[in-house]
């Protein structure tokens, strides 16, 4: 029986209930490290998991964290990829006194072979805590906890043996991520994995060497369902869409109406919602009311459709996205610090997504970066800069024409900042000339 140095009566209570328990799992890892059947020569404290449980128990007693600010640690030549972390009770918990995390750039779509997993697990078992996050909120594989000297060793083995690089942290491009897209999903309007990979490679320098005012995130959603939540949390959000008609299989529509096919691919099977009612559930919920169903034919008035996905989601066997596909680009999402959260704002309603993605790089990403690097204040996200300098500025730096798709509604204040060259005669006027007609 492997021993636990710390009593953990509080967090032990997280070992019951149906949901999988991280406490049980950390204990398991502790046991595995102490038993060490494979005879691994651990390069990081063998008892770190026990101490981690101990720190956590202490936090559960105090209701406060016991981690200190990270110092500046990292690997040579990179400005990101590592988060330094120290325990504020190192004497009590020497096993996690230093406990830095490393961010490993996940493969796109989070697909893995067990062969690859084996390699990185072996590495991390030996040189780190044996604990990970699968995955970090940005998308990286997170190696959770190691010491400063091990950082370079892990990096060396990663790059030399596993051909695998770190991800981003700090004021740089963060590890881009994507939904599974075309790999499995019939709704995908472009190849999210490919563009995610290619842009990650193209901008390695921006990813590893912080030269930005603050962090910058790309996320790729194959369609407006937004399964990687790009619209809520990426400085540039790529969301698949299309320009032509939704493809309709009228026979399949009838099969839904007849009850042979389950609505929404069976998503509502756990409750008896009564028989499927196409009028109420599809036509009636279409936000633009652009659909009609006469009992035998479904019609969609394409120019009115906003491609919200509802009808397609409800009847995936009858309705398919169009063929002229691409993506919308939205800018500036971020979480609330400092001025409140922002959702991304639509700037490019439609753009083709085709390798080598020159149009996207040259007309959007790079002009936007140039502007932000020039004008962005320290720790100012793109979204905040857009708010501060206005959408007009985005149009100026990208050269896009203003179109009503960029807005939900026109301004309700009339405070237009006219530029001098837009107003006949300019701004320079002569008071004496004016006074000829208007006495004081």
């Amino acid at each position: 029986m492997v021993e636990f140095r710390h009593k953990t009566p509080l967090i032990d209570q997280l070992e019951t209930g149906p949901w999988t328990s991280f406490v049980s799992d950390i204990k398991r890892e502790h046991e595995s490290r102490m038993e060490n059947p494979k005879g691994i020569d651990f390069q990081f404290n063998q008892d770190c998991c026990d101490d981690l449980l101990g720190v956590l128990e202490l936090s559960y007693e105090h209701g406060r964290t016991h981690w200190k600010h990270g110092g500046i640690v990292g690997v040579f030549g990179y400005g990101g990829g590592v988060i330094g972390r120290y325990c504020d009770q190192p004497e009590m918990f020497p096993g996690v006194a230093h406990f830095h995390t490393m961010r490993v750039n996940q493969p796109m779509g989070h697909f893995y072979s067990t062969k690859y997993l084996e390699q990185i697990m072996d590495l991390w078992e030996r040189r780190g805590s044996g604990l990970t996050n699968m995955h970090g909120a940005t998308g990286d594989i997170i190696f959770l906890g190691t010491s400063t000297p091990q950082l370079e060793e892990v990096f060396y083995e990663l790059t030399h043996n596993i051909k695998q690089d770190l991800g981003g942290s700090g004021s740089n491009l963060r590890t881009p991520s994507d939904c599974m897209g075309q790999s499995m999903c019939e709704f995908a309007c472009y190849d999210t994995q490919e563009i995610c990979y290619q842009l990650t490679m193209e901008y390695q320098d921006e990813l590893h060497r912080p030269a930005f005012p603050y962090k910058f995130k790309f996320k790729f959603d194959g369609c407006p369902n937004c399964c990687v939540a790009s619209i809520a949390r990426s400085d540039i959000s790529f969301i698949g869409t299309w320009r032509d008609d939704i493809r309709i299989d009228q026979e399949a529509v009838k099969a839904y109406v007849g009850g042979e096919l389950k609505p929404n691919a069976g998503a509502h099977a756990g409750r008896d919602w009564g028989p499927f009612d196409i009028q109420k559930e599809v036509i009636g919920l279409c936000p633009t009311q652009c659909m009609s169903w006469d009992g035998s034919k479904l019609e969609i008035n394409t120019p009115e459709c906003t491609r919200c996905m509802h009808c397609i989601n409800v009847m995936p066997r009858a309705l398919r996205i169009g063929l002229d596909t691409g993506c919308s680009l939205l800018l500036g999402a971020k979480s609330p610090i400092l001025d409140g959260a922002q959702m991304a704002t639509l700037v490019v309603p439609f753009i083709k997504v085709e390798p080598p993605y020159d149009e996207i790089k040259e007309t959007v990403i790079e002009p936007i970066w140039d502007w932000w690097m020039e004008e962005g204040k320290n720790r100012e996200r793109l979204g905040e800069l857009i708010k501060r300098q206005g959408m007009q500025k985005v149009l100026e730096v990208t050269g896009f024409k203003a179109i009503p798709q960029m807005i939900q509604e026109p301004r309700s204040n009339p405070y237009v900042f006219w530029k001098e060259d837009e107003v006949p005669g300019g701004f320079k006027r002569d008071i004496n000339e004016f006074r000829k007609y208007h006495q004081r």
Binding site: L10, E15, R28, H110, M184, A229, A265, A269, L285, H310
Partner: protein
């Protein structure tokens, strides 16, 4: 333990160095059926909670089982996943964007065998190792952050609050009986690492006391101008402090202007906010991300504060359950929680969820606050 070199030479860090190689190319990790049918999928069907089949134009089928993942995963646990993947799914596996594990097989039989196998695997306390569910109109895994496991600014724990919430909502994970998807997210401070700001239900750690100022050390440990500049409400001013007869450079905090964002602490470790009674949970509700039917929505603060009740946060989970139950009972099919709240009106939301409305829930942050107030006589009496 003896130091074993990887080959890295600290004296010549650039020697033999490999950098900027990025991630491995994803294609090598695709199962064969995906490599073959990518971009040619026709439709999908949810066979039962957690099990989805995708059918390709070629007629090929891809069965996926979604297993709940504890986002914090040990190497041992991942090795067990690998073992399962090797046994049933040709050595391939993927993680979802919400930290679930998906095993992919090309036949229904393998899929069902896999199901039986993984459901039988339990942790010592009886918890499932691989609970199955999370598809369709259900509650899937809670995306979350570091909490007391690894971060310096949390106001609550992440993994723990998530564990107890998933235990509470387990029935909704396993069954697709909600009106629509319901996404719960968790962030342990208001940096909100994740999409917590637009989740159907968000659990947020929040501080309620202004930073302590460690005058004796502040000037040594922090850049005073950076600390001052960090404060979004300009609550921090430079100050000279008398300490043991010496005048020290430090800062003072105008407590009335502090909104407890912790941004000063991010910049300066001599200004900690954490406090046993001050810290706790904010609950938000009604956000969404998808563009389905209507635009994405921000979550709204519906409970301003719940104390940290370790280890199982009973008030928090009971409150969340009240919301889920009221939503489940009252919303229309396909209607997300926020769409429901907007349809019935937020005054009715509070009534139906049996939540107390307090002045904290009225926006008072900057100009846009105005747009959240009611500028119409159209309201319901409650």
């Amino acid at each position: 333990m003896a130091f074993i070199s990887s080959g890295y030479n600290p004296d010549k860090p650039m020697e033999d160095r490999i950098t900027d190689i990025g991630p491995r190319y994803y294609e090598e990790f695709y199962p064969p059926v995906i490599k073959k049918n990518k971009g040619k999928w026709l439709y999908h069907e949810i066979l039962e909670p957690g099990i989805v089949v995708h059918v390709a134009e070629s007629g090929d089928e891809l069965y996926t089982i979604r297993c709940g993942g504890c986002r914090l995963m040990s190497v041992s646990h991942i090795r067990e996943i690998m073992e399962i993947a090797d046994k049933y799914s040709e050595g391939y596996v993927r993680w979802t964007t919400r930290n679930n594990v998906e095993f992919m097989t090309d036949s229904k039989d393998k899929c069902m065998a896999l199901k039986a196998d993984v459901l039988a695997r339990k942790q010592p306390g009886g918890c499932y190792k691989f609970p199955i569910g999370g598809t369709g109109a259900s509650i899937t895994n809670i995306v979350h952050t570091q909490g007391w496991i690894h971060c310096h600014t949390p106001a609550t724990d992440a993994s723990g609050t998530v564990k107890v919430t998933m235990d509470t909502l387990f029935d909704q994970w396993e069954n697709m009986k909600l009106p629509a998807k319901l996404r719960v997210s968790m962030a342990c401070c208001l940096n909100m690492c994740g999409a917590v700001h637009c989740s159907d239900i968000a659990i947020l750690g929040y501080h309620r006391k202004p930073p302590l100022v460690d005058h004796q050390y502040l000037d040594k440990m922090c850049e005073i101008p950076l600390a001052i500049a960090a404060c979004p409400t300009a609550a921090i001013k430079p100050a000279k402090i008398e300490f043991e007869g010496k005048k020290l450079n430090s800062v003072s905090v105008n407590e009335e202007r502090c909104m407890f964002c912790g941004n000063c602490y991010t910049m300066c470790p001599s200004m900690p906010l954490a406090d046993t009674e001050g810290d706790g949970i904010v609950l938000m509700a009604g956000g969404k991300i998808s563009n389905r039917i209507d635009a994405p929505k921000f979550s709204k603060v519906v409970v301003a504060f719940i104390p940290n009740e370790m280890p199982r946060w009973p008030t928090m989970t009971a409150t969340i359950k009240k919301m889920v139950d009221a939503y489940s009972a009252d919303a229309n099919k396909y209607e997300r929680l926020g769409q429901w709240a907007e349809r019935i009106g937020w005054e009715k939301f509070f009534e139906k969820c049996d939540l107390e409305f307090t002045h904290h829930l009225i926006d008072d942050f900057r100009d846009p606050a105005y747009y959240t107030w009611r500028q119409t006589t159209n309201f319901k009496f409650t």
